[in-house]
């Protein structure tokens, strides 16, 4: 319970910092007001989805094995050699693959700023990169297919079965950011046309993604994948 409270407290403060930064960019006219608000909503949605995935992992692990002691120590409740290695790389970074090492060194640097909380820094960095990716995709899609369509697409992307990996410390959030940056720059080629999925189609797609995501979260937590 203490770990969960601490985690919520830290996330809340980081969220407040992000919101204040957006408001500052709006006040000095770097970002238009409507866009700043849309970015904030997209960012909050991405964060909420990530926290739901994490909560589902912890819940399942605790229900089956009663061994979740800390929300911070992801290597304890997400089995798999890669996550164990990531936890130690955040504390003592070393060269592995390009994306993994980039994440490890960045997470270690962030951990130094957070007074030695390396595992928390790993989580924070994973969430930050994924939120940034979601925002970049949203901005590009908004320019092409309109605000409502963009919001639908981004939320569907966040609910894809594989998107849970983007919220875990490691190479996936780095890869997500690279792909989002690529899309942001190349997406100018998409012809402009307002596109909005009909509500029943959107709900059905969301439901299907949600069910598949739940299975992928279960498979991750029980060590069947990852």
């Amino acid at each position: 319970m203490g770990g969960l409270l601490g985690w919520l407290a830290g996330c809340g403060m980081l969220m407040l910092i992000g919101i204040l930064l957006l408001l500052f960019l709006r006040d000095i006219h770097v970002l238009p007001g409507a866009l700043a608000k849309a970015i904030a909503v997209t960012g909050l949605q991405a964060m909420a989805v990530g926290m739901l995935y994490l909560f589902a992992c912890m819940l399942l692990r605790q229900a089956m094995y009663q061994d979740v002691e800390s929300a911070e120590d992801f290597a304890r409740f997400i089995p798999g050699g890669y996550w164990q290695e990531m936890a130690s790389l955040l504390k003592s970074p070393a060269w592995r693959s390009p994306l993994t090492s980039l994440f490890a060194y960045s997470g270690h640097f962030l951990g130094n700023i957070l007074f030695g909380q390396y595992l928390s820094a790993g989580w924070a960095l994973a969430f930050l990169l994924t939120i940034l990716s979601a925002v970049l995709v949203f901005i590009r899609l908004r320019a092409c297919i309109g605000g409502e369509g963009a919001a639908q697409c981004v939320f569907l992307l966040l609910c894809l079965p594989s998107s849970v990996f983007c919220f875990l410390p490691g190479w996936p959030p780095m890869a997500a950011l690279l792909i989002a940056c690529l899309f942001f720059f190349l997406g100018r080629l998409i012809p402009r046309r307002a596109v909005v999925l009909p509500r029943p189609v959107y709900i059905a797609a969301l439901a299907a993604s949600g069910v598949l995501s739940a299975f992928s979260v279960a498979a991750l937590t029980l060590g069947r994948i990852g």
Binding site: G2, L5, G6, M13, L16, H29, L114, F115, Q117, S120
Partner: protein, 375 residues
Amino acid sequence: MKNRLKKRWPVWLGIILAAWGIHDLVLVLSSVFVQGSLSLPGIVDLIGQRLTEPGDAVRYLDIAKNGYTAVGENAINLVFYPLYPYLIRFLSLIVPNRALSGLIISRVSFAGAAVLLYEWILYERKCTADAWLGVMLLSLYPFSVFVLGVYSESLFLVLTIGCLFLLRKKRFVCAGIAGFLAALCRVQGMLLILPAAYEMLSLRLGDEKRRFSPKDLSVLLIPAGFGVYLLINYALHGNPFQFLQYEAGEPWYQTTHWISRNIALQYSLSRQHQGLSWIIYLPQIALYFLALCTMLLGVKEKTPVSVILYGGAYLGFTFLSGWMISGGRYMLSCVPIYLILSSVKSASARRLLVLAFALTNVVYSLLFYMSYAIM
């Protein structure tokens, strides 16, 4: 200013009497509880025992009497900032008793803080009901028992509210002076540079796009106040950061960790020390989340961003402390809370807020006067 005083002095007097009256009423009722009877000597005795002798009060009075020292067991008094104790020293040239001087400074400062908060909320919201609500919430804050004691809380309150109010009115020179004094009063005073810089940058880069003026440099007075404190450290010990070493040692054992670890530690301590859980640890955790939610409410209610920035920075800075046991008292001076909560529209929510604040104020004040570990 004269015209304003002429028009508004009845309102200001009402605010001062209400703010003092709440605390004096709680003091009198607590005296009945503690001593079993109502008598003036009993009340004076209680003031002496609980508002001038325990905790930080004795250290402020020692600094007022002897100043800072580089040797001996009182060398650690260096961790207490100089403005309040030296004001006591100055006033004690007229008022012969230092403890009484401290009480007078706190009482007058609290009156000033209440009036300034009223005027500030009126300036932002243009609504007297909101302004009164803000003043009531300040007076009824759960751990506001310290505002009338020999503590720096009231002085810091009036300087912080003054600085933020003046920043909002774009009077940067006066705000700089208030911020300088606030930074000489408590370490959190230094954080006022953030809203100052924000207001200045918004003026230059925002809608108005005003040209840079040399008066803008007056915001640098705020970190200069902290610089003076560092100079005192250097003059005594040859180390401008000597106070950090004292804070890390006995009796404070202060450390700095990220908020999530400190909150988790607070919860763990609340489980280990059941007797202190509802007095120290759980209130601190609750206050953190309440303040955080209040800042987010401020974003929704379009509170000025510089004010939310200061509130967030104050909250974050306070909860970076590892072994914090005075979080309730520290959060009293998170002034944006009162401004933001005064914007609550729903009448029933406002009533609930006032009732919740009043109940917790009475409970914690009573526990304080009964010598429980509220510090």
